[in-house]
């Protein structure tokens, strides 16, 4: 059974091998960077602009509004990280319409890497915003008794991020493969359309959760504006 794109090997030389996950990730990276490079090469500020610039502007302002809605004050500071997460996961699931393509997010290594990025970025942003001592003190909020639970929630939500994305992507591909053997013609098309929707929702969820975690870390203990959200997935 074909579980993930880890098992398709494109090239092997001794210990090193290029599996499908790496190749498709590189392809997505190339598409994203080249695409944005080509579009931003000729930006215009007047009313007449290219349609690709319109597309990128819609995407960027949309992500910025979403980040601002979560409660982060300067979205342009975080859009580099959160927007990249969203665009990568969204494009990875959107490209499943291409035949022969396996989403790299259907491999636990990719999703674990993305979740580790969030795991590292949250303390970095928190320390930057509140200072080292202030960030460490936020672990002992509201009382010192909560210290171990806060640490456990930090670890478990990273695991939850990774397994949630992996499970959703893998289950989509798996259900398609099973349905192809049972009802080969019409029904898999409906399921792959549903898979596209699930992929977009998961990309949204992944980046919104990362934004919520960053917002919880950067929000000072004294300046609590919104009620604290339970963040253990």
């Amino acid at each position: 059974m074909h579980l993930s794109s880890d098992e398709t090997i494109f090239w092997r030389h001794g210990f090193c091998k290029l599996n499908g996950t790496i190749v498709f990730t590189w392809g997505l990276m190339l598409a994203l960077t080249l695409g944005s490079k080509l579009v931003t090469r000729r930006l215009s500020t007047d009313l007449k602009r290219s349609r690709w610039q319109n597309l990128i502007e819609i995407v960027v302002t949309g992500i910025e509004t979403q980040i601002a809605d979560v409660g982060l004050d300067h979205p342009e500071k975080y859009i580099g990280f959160l927007g990249t997460l969203f665009l990568f996961v969204a494009l990875a699931s959107l490209c499943t319409v291409i035949p022969g393509y396996d989403p790299p997010t259907g491999s636990l290594s990719t999703t674990a890497a993305l979740a580790l990025c969030v795991f590292v970025a949250v303390p970095l942003y928190g320390v930057e915003e509140q200072g080292f001592g202030g960030y460490l003190r936020s672990y002992a909020q509201p009382t010192v008794i909560m210290l171990p639970f806060n640490i456990i929630s930090e670890l478990s939500r990273t695991l939850a991020l990774a397994v949630r994305l992996f499970g959703n992507m893998m289950s989509g591909a798996m259900i398609l493969a099973i349905l192809l053997t049972i009802t080969p013609f019409i029904f898999p098309i409906a399921m792959s359309a549903l898979g596209l929707l699930t992929g977009m929702v998961q990309a949204y969820i992944f980046s919104i959760l990362a934004a919520v975690y960053i917002a919880a870390a950067t929000r000072g203990s004294g300046t609590k504006r919104a009620p604290a959200q339970s963040t253990a997935g």
């Binding site: 059974m1 579980l3 979403q66 809605d69 939850a160 397994v163 949630r164 992996f166 499970g167 959703n168 893998m170 289950s171 798996m174 929702v201 998961q202 949204y204 969820i205 919104i208 959760l209 919520v212 997935g233």
Partner: protein, 93 residues
Amino acid sequence: MDDMTLIAIASIATAGLTIALGSIGPALGEGRAVATALSSLAQQPDSSSTITRTLFVGLAMIESIAIYCFVVSMILIFANPFWNHVIAQAAGK
């Protein structure tokens, strides 16, 4: 019945039980969440964006429990460590 048959029976039955029992709770929870969100959307259509975003995040949280069960049952069927261990032992003999 040798070890392999026992492990196969236990894995398959447990995989089915895992996904069956594990989807009951999230299904009930998602139903409640969506029903409450719909009624609050009907009462306060102005704050629809906030309600929808919170609903999606909450649904993902609830759904991840079902996803964990799915991953565990997939591991039991397709990547069972005990099964692989028995196979490796049989090959080594």
